[in-house]
């Protein structure tokens, strides 16, 4: 069995899928021998590698930086796996799509912040808030396959470890995983 290179990334998600990945427990030790984890929140690389065999993408696409990154991921990965419900359906992050972005920001940063008179910097005014340096929020959080073609879908919130293991094992063995029955939306 040839070693494959693996990247995992999370966009707008809760990291639960990554945790489920770790929930492979000791099986992770075996896997670590068969895959090179080139890029992941678990390792230190800052730049997405030029080429990766498999990339697991957790989370929805919800800001301009996600949009940029997901395109790079697609370009530089042979197989892209939508990893978990957020990547597949936008799931809970998508619940904000019912409201305009402005209202969502307003709630968190104006209504729920200290009243201006208590502020030292007096910055965000009642009229609105505009973030800089940080990525700008998209109008909606979207599933990744609405932005790029995706090869495999691994639903679940989070997907069960055995399903993740099965997917990776099949790919390692050069087979096409048949995900039917391994997991489901909201699992």
């Amino acid at each position: 069995m040839a070693k494959i290179s693996l990247a995992t990334i999370w966009l707008d998600g809760c990291s639960g899928c990554h945790m489920s990945f770790l929930d492979m427990d000791e099986r992770f030790l075996d896997l670590a021998g068969q895959v090179d984890i080139l890029f992941s929140p678990l390792v230190d690389n800052k730049v997405f590698p030029d080429h990766v065999d498999v990339t697991l993408v957790e989370g929805a696409v919800s800001n301009d930086s996600d949009k940029k990154n997901i395109a790079i991921i697609r370009q530089q990965s042979t197989i892209v796996v939508a990893f978990g419900d957020c990547a597949i359906t936008a799931n809970v992050p998508g619940m904000r799509n019912r409201y305009p972005v402005e209202a969502v920001l307003q709630r968190a940063y104006i209504e729920n912040a200290a009243p201006p008179q208590q502020r030292s910097n007096g910055q965000p005014s009642k009229e609105g808030i505009s973030f800089h340096t940080v990525p700008q929020l998209a109008r909606m959080a979207r599933p990744i396959h609405e932005c790029i073609p995706v090869d495999f879908f691994l639903p679940g919130c989070p997907p069960p470890p055995r399903a993740i293991l099965y997917l990776l094992t099949e790919i390692l063995a050069g087979r096409t995983p048949q995900m039917h029955g391994w997991t489901r939306f909201g699992a």
Binding site: D64, K67, Q136, L137, A138, R139, P149
Partner: protein, 548 residues
């Protein structure tokens, strides 16, 4: 009161001699099109002026139904001289009266020798623009109710059905189901209570044939219905009309009360044992009610949602009783067929599509209005000869037939004869007869989007493919017209069309993708230009800003 044939002939005689008593007659078009240009005021002005001049017994002003050439309204016709006036203003009235004995007012004359008038063959619209639709006597004077008399007194139901079958008449509502067959199965349906429904829910945008017929000659439809009732054993009828046609409703109601008074409907019609009741029911703005089962639901006072067929309405229809539904234009053909025989009717049209068809010609064409032509007339004749071609030297691009369930037919098929089967072959349908001409300035993707918007908001919402699928298609078309779509979405568009077509519950849903499918078939390059080159070939669409 019950009439016999002598009474009928008597009424006709009196009416004719009355008409002949006038030196001059001026018919003012009072159909909705001309009315909205002020023809009502012109009629009033003419009447006043005639009275003022003391010419009441010399010149008769009559309000009549549609004269056809709606674009040039208000229209007048002078049957005594055979000339037409177009674009008449109130200020023209004295001049018109002055010229009655001399040569016509040149600047108002509408050339009647044009193909627009010459090429038409009028059966359904034979009385349109010739009689006052608000007077039953005028209808009777034009052989009205003679067909009914003949049917009730001289024919058995089977003979009538044979005549209808023999005429080759097919349903004018769109699908073209042979009317004789429908009548036959209705006649055979078990049940002591049966209903006939006249479908006047003409919902296609751009179609107004039924409206014109109902406004211009309502008795013709009533007569057809009573005959149908007799032939199939039904004693109760409903005429379902759009509430958006207040004038048609008004005239129909008036006609009903007149017919009732004269005994054409009610008990013992023409002294036979046959009795038939008729009611008008109003639609309330739902395209889907054109679908038979939805229409039935609507008459029952419910939401017009179709139900799966079978069982068909001829078995389980209104209140579970056998029910037959015919289109306005179909029923308007019945009386002439009975009067003049099936052979006469079968002699008109093509082998499989008999008779004539009324079309509402509109869009980018010089002569917009109502036309009736024999089946088999070519599209080119319709658009260029009868329609007068594209205005301002524009270039013909396509003609849309059949409304939201139909399709767009490109230039290459201009020489195709218009009949049920040829239209179906190119992916469109006859539909109820709307015909919209489009020139080079129309973007076909945008046109498809327009129809999809229609289908989406008219979807009753019962079945999933139609309810959600039309919305998804509409969104994709929106993205294409905004030059924001990808090829993946384009593929999805085709896929969705296929889905809706094959899995929707009713005929409306199944045909909803047609405008997209035909434009995809014949104007694919326009779609691709929006996607690949991010431009609209017709220059009609605006690019949208990328939204995050």
């Amino acid at each position: 009161m019950t009439l016999n044939i002598e009474d009928l002939q008597q009424i006709a005689r009196i009416e004719k001699s009355k008409k002949d008593g006038f030196q001059h007659r001026i018919n003012v078009c009072l159909a909705a099109g001309c009315l909205s240009c002020g023809s009502g005021l012109i009629k009033e002005a003419l009447e006043k002026e005639v009275t003022r001049r003391g010419l009441d017994s010399w010149c008769k002003i009559t309000g009549v139904g549609c004269l056809g050439l709606c674009a040039e309204g208000p229209l007048l016709s002078l049957p005594t001289s055979g000339s037409y006036y177009q674009g008449v203003q109130v200020s023209d009235v004295p001049e018109i009266l002055d010229s009655l004995n001399g040569s016509p007012v040149a600047r108002l004359v509408c050339p009647a020798e044009t193909p627009f008038f010459q090429r038409q063959v009028r059966i359904v619209t034979e009385n349109c623009g010739r009689i006052d639709p608000e007077r039953i006597e005028e209808y009777i004077a034009e052989d009205g109710y003679a067909g009914l008399y003949q049917a009730l007194t001289q024919m058995t139901p089977q003979e009538i059905i044979d005549q209808v079958s023999g005429s080759g008449l097919r349903g004018r509502g769109g699908a073209g189901y042979p009317t004789g067959l429908k009548w036959m199965s209705m006649a055979k349906a078990m049940g002591s209570t049966k209903f006939i429904i006249c479908n006047g829910d003409e919902g296609d945008p751009g179609a107004f044939m039924d409206r014109s017929v109902l406004e211009s000659d309502p008795h013709r439809v009533i007569e057809g219905m009573v005959i149908a009732g007799y032939a199939t054993g039904a004693n109760q009828g409903f005429i379902y009309v759009r509430a958006e046609y207040p004038l048609a409703v008004k005239r129909l109601r008036l006609a009903l009360s007149q017919a009732e008074r004269m005994g054409m409907i009610g008990n013992n019609i023409f002294n036979t044992s046959f009795h038939f009741n008729l009611q008008v029911r109003l639609g309330a703005g739902a395209f889907v009610c054109g679908e038979e089962t939805a229409l039935i639901a609507s008459i029952e006072g419910r939401m017009g949602r179709p139900r799966p067929r079978p069982p068909f309405p001829v078995e389980f229809g209104l209140w579970d009783h056998p029910t037959m539904i015919n289109n306005v234009e179909t029923l308007a053909n019945i009386a002439p067929i009975i009067r003049r025989g099936s052979q006469w009717f079968a002699g008109i049209g093509t082998e499989k599509s008999k008779g004539t068809k009324v079309f509402a010609l509109a869009g980018k064409v010089v002569n917009t209005g109502l036309i009736e032509i024999p089946m088999g007339t070519s599209l080119r004749d319709i658009v260029f000869a009868i329609g007068g071609g594209i205005p301002q030297g524009g270039r013909f691009k396509a003609v849309q037939t059949g409304g939201p369930s139909g399709g767009c037919i490109p230039e290459q098929f201009l020489d195709m004869p218009v009949d049920y089967d040829s239209l179906a072959q190119v992916g469109s349908i006859m539909g109820s007869g709307g015909m919209i001409v489009m020139d080079a300035s129309s973007c076909m993707v945008d046109v498809a989007r327009f129809f999809m918007e229609f289908c989406m908001s008219e979807s009753c919402g019962k079945c999933v493919p139609c309810r959600v699928g039309t919305r998804q298609i509409y969104d994709i078309l929106g993205k294409i017209t905004a030059s924001r779509a990808t090829m993946a979405e384009f593929t999805m568009l085709e896929d969705l069309c296929d889905l809706i077509k094959n899995t929707s519950l009713c005929g409306l849903g199944q045909s909803a993708p047609n405008p997209v499918l035909t434009t995809l078939k014949y104007f694919r390059d326009e779609y691709l230009a929006h996607i690949h080159d991010r431009q609209c070939l017709a220059g009609a669409c605006k690019k949208a800003e990328e939204v995050l």
